[in-house]
């Protein structure tokens, strides 16, 4: 990643708000996606991911806030921007009667730089029959066809809206492999919304989590994973306890459960120093910290309210 790339974000969102009638889909969301990064936007259904994607694609006009995609405002410059953006939608939206070959021919008219050979090669690699109407392809083949279409235009930015939804493990694997290859080859910026957290953990270097239209967090994956930990310990401290104890407050506990053997908690502010201080406290015994997967972090952040369970 170059200095210029890190200083000029591919996507800049500032105070973005989208409403559908009385429902707030996005509530003053602000985030940056650095050029060349792979940004995974996570959230439960209805959290606002698709609204943000539609805004990025210039298909939805925000009610408030500013949005820049590759330096341009997507609503007004959508058509020009789409020459530089590859899109794989959540639901395959290519015309059902067109074969992958016809889709390629159609798209070749739309892009100044269309890699017909690369497109055909990808179809072949994915095992997509080029002469079968799109409507008759399997869900995995549809997704891979759309990914092939998106990549054939050599995009600067790839926008994938839950592209592996409903795909079998083989297709999902092929999908992510292709993205990894694409990243290695071109340094394309990727924005990805997905529920496949295991898959995305391999490739995402930046993560944002949306919940009820609000952006709960947005940071580098490694940093995120480094500050989340599962803490297990026994506690003999009985005085001055809050609902589930204040001994973890320094590490920003998200939840704690009292088990028969002791206490299990997830913290969002872990560091070795803080943990050592915690473990050295009177009454704390058998303390141990274990890292969390991205899925566990997501569940901890987006799944339940802080302190909701013990």
């Amino acid at each position: 990643m170059t200095d210029a790339a890190t200083t000029t974000p591919a996507v800049r969102v500032d105070g973005l708000t989208v409403r559908y009638g009385r429902t707030i889909a996005l509530d003053a969301v602000s985030l940056d996606v650095p050029t060349g990064s792979v940004f995974a936007l996570l959230g439960r259904n209805g959290s606002g991911k698709s609204s943000l994607v539609r805004c990025l694609l210039g298909q939805q006009k925000p009610e408030a806030g500013r949005l820049e995609l590759l330096g341009s405002e997507p609503w007004g410059k959508r058509s020009r921007l789409m020459e530089r953006v590859g899109v794989v939608p959540e639901e395959p939206d290519a015309p059902r009667e067109m074969t992958p070959r016809q889709l390629g021919a159609f798209c070749a008219h739309l892009y100044p730089s269309w890699e017909a050979k690369g497109y055909d090669a990808r179809l072949s690699r994915f095992g997509v029959p080029p002469a079968t109407p799109f409507g008759r392809l399997s869900k995995g083949q549809k997704g891979l066809t759309q990914l092939s279409l998106a990549l054939a235009a050599s995009p600067e930015l790839l926008l994938l809206d839950d592209p592996t939804l409903g795909l079998d493990p083989v297709a999902r694997h092929a999908f992510f492999d292709e993205i990894v290859t694409e990243l290695a080859d071109r340094g394309t910026t990727v924005i990805l919304t997905t529920h496949d957290l295991a898959g995305v953990e391999r490739i995402a270097d930046r993560v944002g989590i949306l919940k009820d239209g609000r952006l709960l967090l947005c940071e580098e994956t490694e940093r995120l994973k480094s500050r989340f930990r599962s803490i297990r310990y026994r506690s003999e401290v009985t005085e001055g306890r809050t609902e589930f104890g204040n001994e973890l407050d320094e590490m920003d506990p998200l939840r704690a459960k009292v088990r028969g053997w002791g206490i299990e908690s997830v913290v969002a502010g872990y560091s070795d120093e803080r943990f050592n201080r915690f473990a050295a406290r009177d009454g704390i015994t058998d303390a141990e910290a274990s890292p969390l997967s991205l899925e566990e972090v997501f569940l901890a952040v987006a799944g339940e309210e802080k302190g909701a369970a013990r």
Binding site: L57, S79, D93, A94, E97, H109
Partner: protein, 653 residues
């Protein structure tokens, strides 16, 4: 252009099965004439009609199906995003889909229709039907608005947005508004050339449809609800704006105001001296007609439906007006209008009435129609009496002698039993004058007027002999009758109305011409008598005595009587030679016999229906005149100054 073509061709390719189906239908058109029972000489016609019907079916079905699916279905299935996630500007998406969808539908129609039309040798028309060659094209092109309608309807129904309620409301409201505007337009005599009007309406509708589909795609993009909102706003905004514009135009056309009339004609309405019936057009070409009752003293005007003359009661409280129903030319309506409130009641009549009269207070109305005199109370329209008028080849004019007594005055002899012009087919009969007693509901005969005994000189000139005919003008108090002969009857007689006795006679001849005359408000009569030098006016007293004779300019061949403009002045128009127009107008002082030229001012002359009414001499209606700019003006007989009433048309423009 490449992108536009790509989108358009994709729309066609997506539904390409339509074209082979159209080809099969084209073959069917050629097979039908081979069916048993189809005459061989009708093969072309059968093939042409079959092809047209099949083409229309393809057009109708195709336009609805393709129109509904071209965007609506993709929106509902969330597949329109395919276009918007590629570098396709929204106008190209819209234009490509519109062009592709329409091209497919029209192409399918042509595939069905053209082979049969071409083989018939009367491309593009239909042989043997005598139809305008443009008609098949018009039928085929009707697929265009249907396609757009289906597009809009499909988006509206699939979006499930609250705008659907607005759509339905406007869908009901707009035709209702058009109906109200159109009804008023027709009722008050608005007229437009149907061709350009229909073309304008279709053009506006198409423009609104096209603009709405454009807004739906460009503003809505992949959001069905937002697209529906945009299309509804544009569609109804444009249609409402056009309707409002049309309504304003219609209102300006039917009610431009008396002052804006370019061409106008006016006459006194009944015995009241303030009200005039004004008919005219605000357009320079004179097209369209607007009728008003105009109070010359106050300026008050009342817009009237398209009709003929109006009668105002002596006290100026009520008017009776006959007009044709705006929705059925067979239906005649008599409207009684309260001139203070503008309220009116309408009485349906079986035929155009022979005559109408109001009592002095406007509370009763007498009307003669189809040989029946009816008296009704106003405004309740309660029938007070109804009786047959005397049977004869005369039309009868009702005149209230008193609120309870109606004089049935024989006015005009019908020369032919069929009512048409041409040689007379009836012999002259002495008409019977009678009175209807409202309370008793009975008719009493008063007298017979000796018309048949008027000598008719033998005709010397060759040509169609239309025979003699007569108009009987009653004096203001109904005590005297002036018999004015027409056709081959060059005579005027002054009769005593009660007895039918002849009080005075003025005769002309085929060489000198025929006399004519009118009553003055005070019961005296003025007759234009033909003499070798031209014409002279003869003033007759009520007992028939010649009071005076006033010479008119030498060479006068025709005389028209104007109005009694007060202080003994009567306006008279004269024409010389064979001219039928009264070119020169004079103010004739009947007391001292002097003539005062009125210059270029053309006075509104009295013609026979208004010769039956006697507005007070010098009242505003007697001052009605036209100036050289064709303006209706009020003429001051003393100073000859004019006050314009209408805009007119300045000379040379």
């Amino acid at each position: 252009m490449k992108r536009f073509a790509a989108v358009a061709l994709r729309e066609i390719a997506a539904r390409r099965f339509v074209l082979p189906a159209a080809g099969a239908a084209a073959v069917i058109a050629f097979l039908v004439p081979l069916l048993p029972g189809v005459p061989g000489d009708q093969a072309d016609l059968t093939r042409g009609i079959t092809a047209l019907i099949l083409a229309c079916s393809f057009g109708l079905g195709g336009s609805l199906l393709v129109g509904a699916s071209v965007v609506g279905r993709e929106l509902a299935e969330r597949r329109l995003s395919f276009h918007f996630s590629h570098p396709l500007p929204a106008p190209i998406v819209w234009g490509g889909k519109l062009a592709g969808g329409l091209a497919l539908v029209l192409l399918a129609e042509l595939v069905v229709f053209l082979p049969a039309a071409a083989v018939s040798g009367q491309f593009p028309g239909l042989p043997g039907l005598g139809l305008d060659a443009r008609l098949p094209w018009a039928i085929l092109l009707s697929a265009v608005p249907l396609f757009l309608f289906a597009w809009l309807g499909s988006v509206a129904l699939r979006s499930r947005s609250p705008w659907l309620i607005a759509d339905l409301a406007f869908l009901v409201a707009l035709p209702a508004v058009l109906f109200v505007v159109g009804r008023r337009f027709l009722r008050f005599g608005g007229w437009v050339d149907p061709g350009p009007a229909a073309a304008t309406a279709i053009g506006v509708l198409l423009a609104a449809f096209i603009a709405a589909t454009f807004a739906q795609v460009v503003v809505g993009r992949t959001d069905a609800r937002r697209g529906h909102g945009a299309q509804s706003l544009v569609l109804w905004g444009l249609l409402l704006a056009a309707t409002a514009g049309g309504a304003l135009w219609a209102e300006r056309t039917i009610d431009p105001g008396v002052g804006r009339l370019v061409r106008a004609w006016a006459q006194p309405s009944g015995p009241n001296g303030d009200w005039a019936f004004v008919q005219g057009s605000a357009r320079k070409d004179g097209a369209g007609g607007t009728n008003y009752l105009l109070n010359l003293r106050t300026g008050q005007s009342i817009l009237l439906p398209l009709g003929w003359s109006a009668t105002v009661s002596a006290d100026g409280s009520r008017a009776a007006y006959v007009h044709v129903s705006p929705f059925s030319k067979e239906k005649i309506e008599l409207e009684a209008i309260d001139l203070k409130t503008g309220d009116s009641v309408t009485l349906g009549l079986p035929d155009w009435p022979e005559g109408v009269d109001l009592t002095a207070d406007g509370r009763r109305l007498a009307v003669v129609s189809q040989g029946l005199c009816s008296v009704v109370e106003l405004p309740s329209l309660r029938l007070l009496a109804s009786a047959r008028v005397p049977s004869s080849p005369w039309t009868y004019e009702p005149r209230f002698v008193a609120p309870d007594t109606v004089r049935l005055h024989p006015l005009r002899m019908l020369r032919r039993s069929d009512g048409r012009s041409g040689p007379a087919t009836r012999a002259v009969e002495d008409p019977e004058v009678a009175e209807l007693h409202v309370a008793k509901k009975s008719v009493t005969s008063l007298a017979r007027y000796p018309i048949a005994s008027i000598a008719i000189p033998a005709r010397k000139q060759k040509g169609v002999d239309s025979g003699p005919t007569f108009i009987l003008l009653p004096s203001s108090d109904l005590s005297r009758v002036l018999v004015v002969g027409f056709g081959t009857a060059p005579s005027v007689r002054l009769l005593d109305a009660a007895s039918g006795r002849v009080l005075a006679s003025v005769d002309g001849s085929e060489e000198l011409g025929r006399p004519t005359g009118v009553f003055l408000a005070d019961g005296r009569a003025v007759v234009a008598e033909p003499i070798p030098e031209g014409r002279r006016l003869v003033l007759l007293s009520t007992d028939g005595t010649r009071i005076s004779e006033i010479a008119l300019p030498a060479g006068t061949s025709r005389v028209r009587f104007g109005s009694e403009m007060g202080e003994g002045n009567l306006s008279v128009g004269v024409a010389a030679g064979k001219s039928t127009e009264a070119n020169d107008w004079y103010l004739v002082n009947l007391e001292d016999g002097s003539l005062r030229p009125l210059g270029e001012k053309l006075l509104a002359y009295r013609f026979w229906p208004s010769g039956l009414t006697f507005p007070p001499p010098g009242s505003p209606v007697t001052h009605l005149a036209f100036d050289t700019d064709q303006r209706l003006v009020l003429l001051d007989p003393k100073t000859l100054a004019t006050t314009p009433i209408t805009r007119g048309r300045p000379a040379g423009k």
